[in-house]
Symmetry: D2
Subunit: 228 residues, 4 copies
């Protein structure tokens, strides 16, 4: 068997919006991280916004615990909240600290509209729908950063100053968490949609949520490039 490391569901969703997915994972911002050409100001603007993004992303994963219906779903989602708050966000805090920006300043940063649109769309997916609606909206960020991390780890310029960012997502621990999340999502899908989920009545809407969140990722990179 030749399953995707992040699971079958993710592979289906990604293949359901190939152009948007490519635009997201191969965005000019990403290429700038890879070859090191991304202006530092753009990166910092992005990083500050991304910190606030992660605050709301952690809220959304917590909402997933509220909506979970199995012990496995609860544990994986609670673990992801912990990984976000205690691991991924520390990269942002450390990098910004080196630039003289403390965490309280990060937490209080005014959100750009692209940022606001994305995180609140995810949150509302959870309020309006069920656990699957929320997972479909959460998936592009999680797995896309995983894909980007792996690709850039193997192809980035030796002297790119963005190696720590790349390493965060190429990291074995991040990849391992993503594999667990992907497996949990496959189980959550099977439990609610049965053996052939892509043929189920709800599939088009779940795809739509995944696609929308992917488009919001593209807009987020664009916001980063634009700068403050």
């Amino acid at each position: 068997m030749n399953t995707h490391p992040y699971g079958e569901t993710f592979a289906l969703w990604r293949d359901g919006c190939p152009d948007d997915w490519h635009e997201y994972t191969h965005h000019a911002f990403v290429e700038g991280l890879r070859d090191g050409s991304l202006p530092r100001a753009s990166f910092l603007h992005y990083l500050i916004q991304d910190y606030v993004f992660l605050v709301h992303f952690a809220r959304a994963w917590s909402l997933a615990v509220v909506k979970a219906e199995t012990l496995d779903e609860m544990k994986i989602c609670a673990g992801t909240v912990d990984a976000l708050v205690n691991h991924e966000m520390s990269l942002h805090v450390q990098t910004c600290a080196a630039e003289g920006i403390d965490e309280a300043t990060l937490f209080a940063a005014t959100e750009e509209f692209e940022n606001l649109a994305y995180t609140r769309y995810v949150m509302d997916a959870g309020l309006q729908g069920d656990f699957l609606d929320l997972m479909a909206a959460l998936a592009p960020c999680c797995f896309g950063y995983g894909e980007i991390g792996v690709r850039l780890a193997g192809s980035a310029a030796a002297d790119t100053p963005y190696r720590p960012w790349i390493d965060t997502y190429a990291d074995a621990e991040y990849q391992s968490v993503m594999a667990s999340v992907g497996q949990m999502i496959d189980g959550a899908i099977a439990r609610r949609l049965g053996d052939d989920p892509a043929q189920s009545a709800r599939w088009p809407q779940l795809q739509q949520r995944f696609t929308m969140a992917t488009k919001l990722e593209v807009a987020f990179w664009g916001m980063g490039l634009r700068g403050a």
Copy 2:
């Protein structure tokens, strides 16, 4: 075709818990309304609790508007909120006013645990799940009262003092709203679970929510009989 006036979904759910449904719709409290033997104090205790129940039931139907995904779902749910706040609750207000209990007192009444358990279970069904989870938890009250109203209207003792209560639910307007709600639920089910919903992976859980809410109706009547 010989469909149920409240729709196919309701008929399936009701037939999925026949004993609980009978216990609910033929409860001693209901029989006491029918033959007039229900003590007035029990009725008043019930009515005060039911007023607070309807406050939270209206909140739950409002949550359904939040969770709706089609215009029809939104309109039917918003209309039900209006029917609850401006029609059904007025029976309670008028009856209690005749006993010297004003609406502010009703609104501030301390909820019995059976009452609390029921309404908050319904609300959480909406927070945890999607529109269908909420509908499954809302259905027993709506349609059960409709069934009871029709049955008692045709069989109640001529001198039962509870005729106004019976008429509220036997009423053509209430029945018509229930028919619309049932049709909307059938559409909501078809949209999300396809043509053979009872064979879908999610069906057992939806049945479980309907059954639990039916059991909570039984407990609510028991609370009424017990008195204050």
Copy 3:
């Protein structure tokens, strides 16, 4: 006494962000409605987006019913949902129908990011905070359109083709609903923050929510001007 027709709270919030408020209520889009110079394509683009906005705005007002704590709060919010679904949205439906766009098309329109950001921000204000947080986020749209309607009704070019839009918000019924909403908000504030709300610990955050929603109104007009 010389209170504002939409209430004391609104007056305080508006005066807490005078520049943003002016930018919103005197935006080039608004001036284009007034003098008739707004391109028809911009108006239609706006109107389609605004229809979807109202769908989510009705969801947010329904969430307010979920969060209400008094009978008055429940009734006013439920009435506003009804006014949105059955009154304000009909302007959009009729105008678009005359252009050959039916309501199903409106309902399915893809939301622009500015639209998404705004409605989901409001919804999350309700999920994260309490009734007041939600009111602060809902207020700018309600009252700003009321102010714009009144101002334009008295100053618009005789031949502006946007008179029906202006009339919708200058309308006595719309103004009356807004007065009721404003009074209800004043009561909700007094109940939770006491007699001197602007001195309470929570005030800065409520102001921040009102200000953010006002900025999102400015962005929404900009989206309209930009066209499809």
Copy 4:
């Protein structure tokens, strides 16, 4: 200064309902744990229900992360979810395993109405209100078990078979988590209600939520004593 180990807010809330608090913390069920007279069947019935309680309690603490407004609130609440899922629940799992009841059976146990009423009331406090409403509803369980644990650790019969239960809550780690939670609540209160919270307009309602949750604790013990 002579502050309470669980904070000033808790001390105020507890002193706001002294009779209910005593009935809860000195309930016959608690005394049965202390002197060892509690029938094993009652304890097991309680423990199975309490496992399901903790599932929903973890969901409610996750909802607190969704509603948090500071980094400290987020971290403490996320940490509490982790402590519940990975520490407190393991006592239940191990004890029940020794009786031949596995975790899947625990997770699927049918909730008694007293259990349902309590957890769903807490959850709805979070949906209806803000972070403080949720904290007031979560506090009695957290701090009451802490108080009971300390009292019983110093007074329990040498041969009570319920020593492991007592130790779980008398444990330095549990007490330390509770101290952090109490301090976080004090900060959350100060941030939203200012320096003299007990004089603020919202206080009576927060007290009411704390009191209701305390009454629900009493009912929960009663459910345990009644047995399956």
